[in-house]
């Protein structure tokens, strides 16, 4: 007997019970799965960056190519340009979300910021991202598994390489005075705070439910257990009936109570970030959003962390800032923006929620269409087996 034959004695046949159990697991997984396409690189079209050599300032690119830049809302057919059955390529992205794994903890690590225009007494104006914050949140799937909230402040910084050049010409100021939330505030270009642990002994296992109203205050968001979340349907139409419900009592659209496309986008974005949706529910919700009227697919979008992907964009909305709350003259005026959800085309994961300038005006008169005016970028998100911890490294 040679050594190869001798090793065969280590093997054994599976018991019928073991073989049947494994097959049942596979069948359950397969029954819940959506069809997929054979793997190929999702084609990201070459596009002209509005900001030129955006990668020079690592991670600071606020470059967005707006393929559909008309401010006049021209609702496309549901699902994307031309109403193609695959949602203009988006359905491929949604299919990738089917393949994401599950685990014991759901976490989201999110970096956010808002653009502010700096107008030096002499020299060109430039824009910065201020109010930059990183927030880390996790929730266990089970009630006794815990929940954690952590946050830290990140430095303000010029928004694009061009802005960085103008900032240097202005003497590289280390702080920025901005008009924010109806008052002046100063952001530092150097200040980073340590992580603050805001966890208050939550037991975990409770998650925000679907918010039909899209109420930013979160008032109508009854908690759901992981089991209830897991029991959500996977069918896009059934999910639309749960998530995109008009609310006659809603305040945000006086007289109509109708969920605008931008509100639907926000509702879906919040659910994708904060609810432990099983992969097939996530994919179903992405498909449901893509099918809504006033939502279209946009390719070649990037977030302020420099990550490119495919976005779902809501039809633009026009904002007018008045002097009512004391805004100085240069902060008043009218501009058009739209909300976008940016997805990683390779994995289907949500990368960012963006507000993008469509028609410059008012406080953003000096900016170009496509500029990101505020962002919530998901630095990492998803299921883990181990209890997640906030990262030590800075995002930029």
């Amino acid at each position: 007997m040679d050594e190869i034959d001798a090793l065969k004695a280590l093997t054994a046949e599976p018991s019928p019970e073991s073989a049947a159990a494994g097959r049942a697991l596979l069948l359950a997984e397969a029954r819940g799965a959506a069809p997929v396409s054979a793997r190929r690189r999702f084609p990201i079209p070459k596009f002209a960056l509005f900001t030129g050599a955006g990668l020079a300032l690592a991670g600071a690119t606020a470059a967005v190519a707006v393929l559909v830049s008309s401010g006049t809302a021209t609702p496309r057919a549901p699902g994307g340009p031309g109403g193609a059955p695959d949602g203009g390529g988006f359905m491929q992205v949604a299919a990738k979300a089917d393949l994401l794994p599950s685990g014991r903890f759901w976490h989201t690590d999110e970096v956010s910021g808002t653009i502010y225009v700096q107008r030096p007494a002499s020299g060109a104006s430039y824009t910065i991202f201020g109010a930059q914050t990183e927030a880390f949140h996790y929730t266990s799937a089970k009630p006794d598994g815990g929940e954690g909230f952590f946050s830290r402040e990140l430095p303000a910084r010029p928004a694009t390489p061009q802005d960085e050049a103008a900032w240097k010409r202005a003497g590289s100021p280390r702080s920025f005075r901005v008009w924010s939330n109806d008052h002046y505030f100063t952001y530092s270009a150097t200040r980073t705070t340590p992580w603050t642990d805001d966890s208050a002994g939550e037991r975990g296992g409770a998650f925000p439910g679907p918010s039909g109203s899209g109420d930013p205050s979160g008032g109508r968001r009854p908690a759901m257990t992981a089991a209830q979340v897991a029991a959500l349907p996977t069918d896009p139409d059934a999910l639309a009936k749960i998530f995109f419900v008009d609310d006659p009592k809603a305040r945000y659209a006086p007289g109509t109570g109708r969920l605008t496309p931008a509100r639907k986008l926000s509702v879906a974005g919040r659910a994708l970030k904060n609810m432990p949706l099983p992969p097939k529910v996530r994919a179903g919700l992405m498909r449901a959003l893509a099918k809504q009227s006033g939502i279209q697919t946009v390719k070649g979008v990037a977030d302020p962390l420099g990550r490119k992907g495919v976005a779902l964009a809501a039809e633009p909305e026009t904002i007018t800032r008045t002097a009512e709350y004391g805004a100085p003259a240069q902060e008043q005026g009218t501009y058009t923006e739209r909300r976008e959800l940016l997805f990683n085309p390779d994995t289907g994961e949500l990368l960012a929620t963006l507000t993008v300038l469509v028609r410059p005006g008012g406080p953003y008169a000096a900016l170009k269409p496509g500029a990101v005016i505020d962002y919530f970028s998901v630095r990492s998100s998803g299921w883990t087996q181990a209890k997640p911890k906030p990262p030590a490294g800075l995002p930029f």
Binding site: I4, G22, R23, L99
Partner: protein, 188 residues
């Protein structure tokens, strides 16, 4: 099996499962026993149930990545199984250590180890199990894919993503070490 006669080869079943996920059970029906035997050989009965099942779940989730041009499905499955086995290094180590201890004069390991090893008692020479512990992880992957899974050199190369020539050299090295253990006076 639910696969209709029109699709009766591995690549065809995987292709069909892209649009009809349940068709992937055809892959399970064809290959589960072989994958189980291999995993059992490396990790023992307790871990084999889970790891063999996990191999097919992983393969199913990645089925869109399977490229028939890069090798047979069998090799791809055993590549997945081997990567999962690698996540259970301690289990594998414990198994060989326990097998190596079996014998009249050898001290037994803990209760758990004894139970796991008892299944194979008398089948595998303790010296061989001890020699397996002396192989590098890379040598073990190659020699056990050949011995336990009956993979050809080409299939091993595809499964592990290593050059064909490397399979031969690692296999020769591993076999020499194992043969030396079997030929030792104690092992006869």
């Amino acid at each position: 099996m639910t696969a209709p006669p029109a699709v009766d080869d591995d690549a065809g079943i995987v292709a069909a499962s892209l649009a009809e996920p349940e068709r992937f059970t055809g892959v399970y029906d064809r290959h589960h026993a072989a994958v189980y035997r291999y995993v059992h050989g490396r990790l023992g009965p307790q871990a084999a149930d889970d790891v063999a099942a996990e191999t097919f779940l992983t393969a199913f989730r990645r089925r869109a990545d399977f490229d028939p041009a890069r090798g047979a499905l069998r090799a791809w499955l055993f590549g997945i199984a081997t990567r999962l086995v690698a996540q259970h290094r301690r289990t594998e180590e414990r198994r060989y250590r326990a097998l190596a201890r079996l014998g009249p004069d050898r001290p037994h390991g803990g209760h758990e180890d004894r139970v796991a090893a008892a299944v194979d008692a008398g089948l595998v020479k303790p010296e061989l199990a001890a020699a397996l512990r002396g192989l590098s992880a890379k040598e073990r992957d190659v020699v056990l894919l050949v011995a336990l899974a009956d993979l050809t050199h080409e299939e091993v190369a595809a499964a592990l993503g290593i050059p064909y020539g490397t399979v031969g050299s690692r296999l020769n090295r591993a076999r020499r070490k194992l043969r030396a253990a079997l030929d030792s006076p104690e092992g006869t």
